[in-house]
């Protein structure tokens, strides 16, 4: 029972991180209409930057602030240099560039920081919090839950109530009409990538203390947050959050309920992806788009 509760909190913290990364994926998808295979690697790069800052003495929260800001600029540049030039090209070319970006960013991390795994500092104490009798949860897990949900809340407010958020939703819904209303769609797309990079940066920084930091840090979580984004609906920000927590809890169930379940987790994520694509490609909360022939 104690074990279950502890696992529950692990799932909560994982869920928050998956939800954040899935949200980042959804944002780039809504901005450009294509899946960004390099989403995880962007977050890894940001996390490495944070690591460099923190290990050279910059206080943690200031380092996070700087990392988030730089990541925003980085996301903007990526959209401008590696997405926009290929906007009119075939899906084959676009997928290829996306995969190329994946490889390039991954190798950039390896080149600058090397491949040895290193611990990543957490601003939260290393100790455990005793939530209920006997149930001990790492302070970092609690912190990750808090930070992730704060950020998700901020994103919600941003999309729902700000002018920039409205412009992004409009551009994602109908590009041509947005232009006719005076919205600079190019700039909005860039902003979408910028925000998504910032969200990914925070998620990476929350994840790294759990997984250790190396260029392949996202290799494991990748399939999970992709599954989460697809489950919730690749075009739905709310779906990303729902999907993130759902996948985390399903993962928990699979790991504990099935024999050798822990090793089956990845296969389970694959099954989720395949089933969603087959049965309900727009996910739980996504929009069905009719294709005009």
């Amino acid at each position: 029972m104690v074990f279950i509760l502890e696992q529950f909190f692990t799932a909560l913290s994982k869920g928050g991180i998956y939800a954040s990364l899935a949200l980042a994926l959804v944002m780039t998808y809504k901005a450009t209409g294509h899946v960004n295979f390099a989403q995880g690697e962007m977050a890894t790069l940001s996390t490495f930057l944070a690591w460099s800052l923190v290990t050279s003495g910059v206080p943690y929260w200031l380092a996070m602030l700087i990392t988030v800001a730089v990541s925003g600029v980085f996301g903007l540049s990526l959209e401008r240099l590696s997405v926009r030039p290929f906007r009119q090209r075939s899906p084959t070319v676009i997928v290829t560039v996306s995969v190329g970006l994946f490889i390039a960013l991954n190798s950039l991390c390896g080149w600058i920081w090397g491949y040895e795994a290193r611990p990543f500092p957490s601003p939260f104490s290393d100790a455990h919090l005793e939530v209920v009798q006997g149930v001990r949860v790492r302070w970092h897990a609690v912190g990750a839950i808090a930070v992730s949900n704060c950020m998700l809340g901020l994103m919600f407010v941003f999309f729902r109530f700000s002018k920039a958020g409205l412009a992004m939703r409009g551009a994602a819904s109908n590009q041509a009409s947005s232009r006719l209303l005076g919205i600079n769609v190019d700039r909005v797309m860039g902003a979408g990538w910028a925000v998504s990079a910032m969200v990914g940066a925070v998620a990476g920084m929350m994840m790294a203390p759990f997984t250790f930091l190396d260029p392949h840090m996202m290799a494991g979580p990748l399939i999970f947050f992709f599954a989460a984004a697809l489950l919730g609906g690749i075009s739905s920000p709310l779906g990303a959050v729902v999907g993130g927590y759902s996948i985390a809890f399903f993962e928990l169930i699979v790991a504990n309920a099935l024999p050798s379940g822990n090793e089956l987790r990845t296969t389970f994520a694959l099954l989720v992806i395949v089933l969603i694509l087959l049965l309900r490609p727009h996910g739980i909360l996504g929009q069905v788009t009719a294709k005009r022939v």
Partner: protein, 344 residues
């Protein structure tokens, strides 16, 4: 559906004699070149060439899938692994003769490919790529899976010795494997060539262009897509098997997610839909790591990423496209008969 319009790069239905004679001559020329290799190379160099030819087999299938069915697979590393493990298991006890191993492994993968393609028949473009992407990630995990350890050897993998060549041939084991690889490559190239220039090829092109119209015209789009995928799986399986026979070892670490990416890179860099793309792409993915690893661990990936993006900008038809452009430039050579600027 008998459309007698010559599409670019296609022959008319009912190839004329000179055309197929040209193909035979080309094949013979390549055969001669291939035969010459073991005479001048041994050891590591032979190993590299063998590797290149093995990868070319895998890329032949991928090229057909992408160039003709318009489906991008990011997961063929998993199928390659399947072929490799099949070969290891078939050879381990020495029960199956070496000669049959690649084809049998290929058939195993073909069956898997058929099932996979059938299950995912409704997926297109980005969604299909995503599903295969997920497959590539899962495969190494499955290979490590506890319950399968009895067959897969778990994390340790399986080491084995490949069967010896027949004595009357008087070939070394390495040369014998090389011969097998060449034979498989030629057969694969022949099969793919036939598909491309035949009615199936046209059906696939129509499918790639506009699936809805193609099915409205009576083309069984599902069968066409599944057929292309299972053929590509067949070849990837053969390639995986030959590779396993080459190194006489399989383990989960030999088939990481990055292998699928590497095959994808080979496909794109070679040139999707081109005849020599698979060979050019194979050279790229075997030779680049060979030299880049000496620079740094990150160099290979960096080159892959950079080259791929640069190609998409400048020459989406890959190395084959570049080669074709260079070939066309010969018009401007002063001694060329076409140098007065005849328009093609």
């Amino acid at each position: 559906m008998n459309v007698d319009i010559a599409l670019p790069g296609q022959h008319r239905a009912g190839s004329t004699a000179p055309a197929s004679r040209a193909r035979l001559l080309r094949g013979a020329a390549w055969l001669l070149a291939a035969a010459a290799v073991p005479l001048v190379m041994q050891g590591y160099e032979l190993f590299l060439v063998t590797s290149i030819l093995i990868m070319a087999i895998a890329l032949l299938g991928l090229n057909l899938l992408a160039g003709y069915a318009g489906l991008l697979s990011l997961g063929h590393g998993a199928i390659f692994a399947m072929g490799a493990y099949a070969a290891a298991l078939l050879q381990k006890n020495g029960a199956v003769p070496l000669i049959l191993v690649p084809v049998l492994a290929g058939i195993v993968c073909l069956i898997f490919g058929r099932g996979f393609a059938f299950a995912l028949q409704r997926l297109e473009g980005m969604q299909f790529a995503l599903a295969t992407f997920a497959l590539a990630i899962v495969a190494p995990q499955l290979l490590r899976y506890d319950l399968l350890q009895r067959w897969s050897g778990g994390s340790q993998g399986i080491a084995f010795t490949r069967g010896a060549p027949p004595e009357w041939l008087m070939l070394s084991s390495d040369n014998w494997l090389y011969v097998l690889v060449v034979v498989h490559l030629l057969i694969a190239a022949f099969v793919v060539d036939n598909v491309r220039h035949g009615p199936d090829g046209r059906a696939l092109l129509a499918l790639k262009d506009n699936a809805l119209s193609a099915s409205a015209m009576g083309i069984d789009t599902v069968a066409a897509k599944c057929g292309a995928f299972e053929l590509s799986a067949f070849f990837a399986g053969i390639a995986g098997a030959l590779n396993a026979l080459l190194v006489q070892f399989v383990a989960p670490d030999s088939f990481p997610f990055f292998l699928s990416i590497t095959l994808f890179i080979g496909l794109v860099v070679g040139g999707i839909g081109s005849t020599y793309g698979p060979l050019l792409g194979a050279c790229f993915i075997v030779l680049v790591p060979n030299f880049a690893e000496q620079l740094s661990q990150a160099a290979t990936s960096a080159i892959y990423g950079g080259v791929v993006v640069a190609l998409m900008l400048a020459e989406p038809n890959g190395l084959a496209g570049i080669a074709e452009r260079v070939w066309h430039l010969r018009r401007f050579l002063p001694t060329s008969p076409n140098s007065n600027g005849d328009q093609t």
